[in-house]
Symmetry: C2
């Protein structure tokens, strides 16, 4: 016996195990070599190297045209070696699948995006990659964290090491009970002292209200809730008006409600920016990269739609 111990695992080479398996299946070094695209002498040396690794012969070579036969040690090596090769093939296949876009993606979102943008993005992503595993989470704590998410939709700046693309400028619109205001657009100062229902002070809301204040309009916030439907019900009930981003108005389909009317504001409040964030400096999975592309496309489509309906902040 040579030495009892096997050098770590490192001395094993998958190539050698593959050669061994081929020899077993073909019954000869030469045919195995042909199958693998090697020379007979190469296979001979590969087997020799393998035998050095495991510390003993794995084949009995009867000499002459008789097929080589596996030794008991060789049987042990082969049994495990085949599993090893199978696992290696599984790895290669998993990598291929990953590169083709399968895999898991975790996306964080918030209400308007969940309703208007995400369904389309998810649909297209699933169409392109039927095997993918898309997970959404809509948690909106005080300070939204990107955590372990691959992508996060958010309408404000995010602290931490984060990169983003801007998807959409989402202008604020006034939603009032029909008859409250007249005209397509309403001067901002008409809202000074007016009753308003509004979102809680999360996300972009504080910035928007500051913009009002700077313009000298100080509406009376008579109710705050995050529920868009509740807000609109309150508007319908005459509790007050609402200043909501276009995306939310669109999501709630407020314009098709006869009891409501959607006005622009003059001058326009700077729109909130819908952004898609991810941790800086991290390589995206193909799935995440594609999701970003799709989100940008979908948002561009929405921007077109928006531009057809409203004049936008420029005019």
């Amino acid at each position: 016996m040579t030495e009892g111990t096997l050098g770590p695992v490192s001395d094993l080479e998958l190539r050698h195990l593959a050669a061994m398996a081929a020899v077993v299946e073909e019954g000869s070094f030469g045919r195995a070599a042909a199958r693998l695209g090697y020379t007979q002498s190469t296979v001979s040396q590969q087997i020799a190297a393998l035998e050095r690794s495991v510390g003993g012969p794995v084949f009995d070579r009867p000499g002459g045209p008789r097929a080589v036969r596996i030794t008991p040690l060789g049987a042990v090596v082969l049994e495990h070696g085949r599993e090893l090769l199978a696992k290696a093939a599984a790895l290669a296949e998993a990598v291929d699948r990953f590169r083709a876009g399968d895999g898991r993606i975790d996306i964080g979102t918030f209400q308007s995006v969940s309703t208007v943008i995400l369904p389309v993005v998810v649909r297209r992503l699933r169409d392109e990659h039927p095997g993918c595993d898309i997970r959404l989470s809509e948690e909106e704590p005080e300070a939204p964290r990107i955590g372990d998410l691959d992508l996060l939709f958010y309408d404000g700046p995010l602290d931490g090491d984060v990169e983003h693309v801007k998807l959409l400028d989402d202008p604020y619109l006034l939603v009032a009970r029909r008859g409250t205001f007249s005209g397509r657009s309403v001067p901002l100062d008409r809202l000074d002292g007016a009753p308003l229902v509004a979102w809680p002070s999360t996300c972009d809301q504080p910035r928007m209200e500051e913009a009002f204040a700077r313009a000298g309009a100080n509406p009376k916030i008579v109710f705050r809730t995050a529920g868009n439907e509740t807000l609109l019900s309150m508007v319908r009930a005459g509790m007050g008006s609402a200043v909501l981003p276009w995306l939310a108005v669109h999501a709630a389909d407020a314009r098709s409600d006869d009891r409501l009317r959607v006005h622009e504001l003059r001058p326009a409040v700077p729109p909130r920016e819908i952004c898609l964030h991810w941790r800086a400096g991290r390589t995206h999975s193909p799935l995440a990269a594609r999701a970003i592309e799709i989100a940008v496309e979908v948002a561009a489509g929405l921007a077109d739609e928006l531009a057809l309906t409203y004049s936008g902040p420029a005019s």
Copy 2:
């Protein structure tokens, strides 16, 4: 994207996967290198090679003293890679166990050996190698085949590509009802025409009967059976005498039976040879090699015992 496909499995190297795992655990190329006994630059190149194999980066390198982070692709590779490394370690361990003498051994045997020699061999083998898996089979067809057996006890020549060691010269003895013959040894020709019970014509039996015939002794075979106890019962019942090898007499403990007497034959019939066979040109497992050694030792012990009791063929 570079290319979609991974070169067969061959491009993967366990070494690279081990390096990757170490980097993940250590958080830096340099510390991983130290743990593996490599240089930082070597690990760097190993990871680069791995990334070439899988077609994309497996780590994001933030630069500076921040720990490297695994990419989504890297996570896929790592997950499978760890399994691969575990399997490789399992192979190494299995080989070590094999070399230490664990494993399976298939032994073929026949009646006398099963009773007298094998129990001792098995006992010693199991004592030395508690983890071993010993399988015995006692099939005695017309032509005993070594088949898939590692070792085969047999008392005659075996055809096929077979090697063997002779364990024991097993002399034939006459077992008779007490009072049938007088004296320690009985002349062979006294058996001419005498009633005999005997084994069927398998194994060494035909050769032994031919030896009788050549010596001019033609006994009358009145009953044939392979069951030793049955034979001896017939002898006790006066049906006839039996000519059995010493090993069978020893196994049946015939000498301690007052109704029986064991005689030598004069001149002695050439003894049957108890041999241990295996397929020619095949490397033995350590277990099989040890089994042969033990069998030889045990047989030598029996030969000594035999020599003390009987004069043997020489005198």
